[in-house]
């Protein structure tokens, strides 16, 4: 699992960091994305669905944590 800490970044950087990590590390299957931007509650799942990735909200405190896996079907 690869950690992507975007807690200090505003929209659109979490999505862009995730996208960059996805293309930079093609072998990596699971990413753990953390962010504070509440817009991410809808944005990250929307992005993941669009990109054919599985996405699970792990924590919804002041920091949002998403587990992102590829491909979508591998999310149990």
């Amino acid at each position: 699992m690869m950690e992507l800490d975007c807690t200090a970044l505003a929209c659109p950087m979490p999505v862009i960091k995730l996208k960059k990590a996805l293309s930079q590390y093609p072998e990596q299957q699971v990413f753990c994305l953390s962010l504070r931007d509440r817009g991410g509650l809808r944005d990250i799942p929307a992005f993941c669905q669009h990109q054919g990735l599985g996405c699970e909200l792990v924590s919804e405190e002041s920091v949002l944590v998403f587990k992102v896996v590829r491909p979508m079907e591998s999310l149990k």
């Binding site: 970044l9 505003a10 929209c11 659109p12 862009i16 931007d37 992005f47």
Partner: protein, 168 residues
Amino acid sequence: MSGRLSIIHSKGSLDWAYPTFILASTAAAMDQEVELFFTMYGLECVRHHTEHLRVSPLSNPAMPVRFPIGPAGFQKVDWRPWLPNLVLSLPGMERLATWGFKRTLQQQGQLPFDELRALCLELGVRFTVCQMSVDLMGLTEKDFIEGVQFAGAASYLAASPQQQALFV
């Protein structure tokens, strides 16, 4: 490619530059083909120096006026209702508002404009500058950053999606 986004950007102020470049970078990250067309004052967004991109509270009646420094309670106060427009028109107010705007963006984790712009180019967003506006503003191609192309309305229309465009 999964879709295309095209935005006509005509504003020459810093606050309006953000929505366009945020949408563009996000769309590019979502594999869309993105075309930004800069016209009129929007040209300022693609010049070498961007310090002249400012924020003017005077021309934005809905813009809150807050101080990005000091105690938290103080920072929350919106001074707009107590500030006559005459005060906002004083020399230096635009600089002050711009400083406050940049500082607030930074506090919220937003990128400085130049970095956001570079990011868009890196993600493959196409920048097209309206040649007519370049001539109108008395500028030349040397005044613009690398990576932009110069063209007119027909090129934009030929390159933009059939049913969607945003105008900022």
